[in-house]
Amino acid sequence: MSAPAPAAVRPSVVQAVARGRRRRSSRRLLVAVALAVLAVAAFAVTLMAGQTFYPPGDVLGVILGERVPGASFTVGRLRLPRGVLAVVAGFSFGLAGVTFQTMLRNPLASPDIIGISSGASAAAAIAIVSLSLGGTQVSVLAIVSALLVALLVYVLAFRDGVVGTRLILIGIGISAILDSVTSYALSRAGDWDLQEAMRWLTGSLNGTTWDQVLPALVALAVLTPVLLSRAHDLSAMQLGDDTGAALGVRVERTRITVIVAAVGLIAFATSAAGPIAFVAFLSGPIAARLVGAGGSLLVPAGLVGALLVLVADFAGQFAFDARFPVGVVTGVLGAPYLIYLIVRTHRAGGSL
């Protein structure tokens, strides 16, 4: 049963291997801690700064439940839910995005490219505009629709297993169909609905309330451990499905677990904040550049996503003359990167 005893190995080589591994894992840790610190700092800034500045003491007081004149409303009711949703949605998008990109070994395979976010958006737009639903019902519909779209893309792409490229192309097609459904629904919207439904086109954190934040927060708390528990398996599957299976991964089972968890994250976050453009798509590759290849990117990508949404939302509110929803800002960042990535992938046939 036991493996053969390794032939005599020079201790110097073992030490070199251990040193190399420690160096890399300490770099990963350093990057993760730095990202976390930056995200916390950005979160703190979005709570303090705005039309009116509140010092840290006031903000902390509000968070601890004290009544601070002015700050209790502005920070407690407006900025805090908005900031928390920025973190939760950003982390969800980043984590789910990099999961898909890793699993399908292609940076184009993120849920916002292959139609899953579009599915959630289209369902939400129809629910608001045509069916006049609100609140929880919209979220439920968005989630169910995202799962159905994921299933549809998976089934259409399935032939003796799923090949990344086929799934991506089918997903892009489905995504285009669903986007036109959203546009059609919005073209029939009344003025009041339009404001709300616009969220489902670009993603926005305007007017965030705790009712919207809570389901996304719970989903993140439940699904993150599920995904992290599969991080090792995903790393093995990155070497190809056959190699992964040879390394002892139950490939199909892992894939389904991971897809359901990642789609769940996307759907809950989208139903709260809309499909914030390109965050799922951008976070993984940015994290990969920072951390370096080799390690798991799940947590770094989540942190990058949170940071992206926090910064983009803050910039959208205060950096320009007009106020832009967060999705407009991330869209401006993401589109050129998408083009760059397609050009580069086309040249090198590379992966994440």
């Binding site: 190995v9 291997v17 190399g20 591994r21 890399r24 040879a246």
Partner: protein
């Protein structure tokens, strides 16, 4: 050293969709030896190898490792005994040799478990055995084809399995690197007693390096035995539809196959000059 793992296929029928690729095949892998599988393109060799390593569930029959059906064994437990290097594994962009080889430790690690000292020893041993220690910090995509193949073999070695299956480990390599890889696998087999099963395209290299040669034709076992028993002019005709002369290899004393095509053949050897080859 535990080299007594028995791997066998019993009445194995394999297929994809409606297509049956391998039909009721019986096969025994001799423990502690190098077994080479040969056969024409699309004869079911790779399918067979995938099934032997649990990647493909059989339609009928079973694959048995030490008396247990591999398709019912826990995946990680199997992966600690039997390793597979597929034909075209994927290296994530920018991954270093050290990280890639380290992933071979996956079946020895738990869901969240930390890296242990024995993992470092196993990785170091794999690097040493494949002479890739100097490459440890290089990115895999910068390496030459021969170096990359050695790194992949190191990854499979880090898995520390007593049985190692390889699907065409010498494809895309030039002559010297082919010999290099096959010598390396032979060292492993002789040094550690690792049982090796591999598919090779080149019949003469197969005959040179195999202790046990298996010829597959049309999804069925055509012949198995020592290279001298299996590599004959008749079996080359039956398996590959090719006329040939088989002589003794002056270097190894093993059989050496010389194909007889329609051109560049001395007149007295041409089988039927006027008849087109089917």
């Amino acid at each position: 050293m535990t080299t007594s793992h028995s791997l066998a296929a019993e009445g194995l029928t394999l297929g994809y969709g409606d297509r049956v690729v391998v039909e009721s095949l019986d096969l025994v892998v001799p423990p502690g030896e190098i077994t080479v599988i040969v056969g024409a393109n699309a004869c079911g060799k790779s399918t067979l190898l995938r099934s032997l390593s649990r990647l493909l569930a059989p339609r009928e029959g079973r694959v048995v490792l030490d008396g247990k059906e591999v398709h019912r064994m826990p995946a990680k437990q199997l992966a600690r005994t039997l390793g597979l290097l597929p034909q075209s594994p994927v290296a994530p962009e920018g991954i270093t040799v050290l990280d890639l080889v380290g992933r071979g430790r996956h079946p020895h690690q738990g869901m969240f478990s930390r890296w242990k000292a024995e993992d470092d020893v196993a990785v170091a041993a794999a690097l040493e055995a494949t002479r890739t220690t100097e490459l440890a910090d290089r990115a895999v995509d910068e390496l030459s084809g021969g170096q990359r193949q050695r790194v992949w073999i190191a990854m499979a070695l880090a898995q520390q399995t007593d049985l190692l299956l390889l699907d065409e480990p010498t494809t895309f390599l030039d002559a010297s690197h082919q010999i290099d890889v096959l010598d390396l696998l032979t060292d492993l087999n002789r040094g550690r007693g690792t049982t090796i099963v591999m598919i090779l395209h080149d019949l003469n290299l197969a005959a040179r390096y195999a202790d046990h040669l298996i010829a597959i034709a049309g999804g069925r076992l055509h012949a198995c035995g020592t290279p001298a028993e299996v590599l004959t002019e008749d079996s080359v005709r039956a398996v590959f539809g090719l006329d040939s002369r088989v002589i003794e290899d002056p270097v190894s004393g093993r059989p050496l196959m010389l194909p007889i095509g329609r051109h560049h053949v001395r007149p007295q050897l041409t089988p039927n000059p006027l008849q087109p080859v089917e």
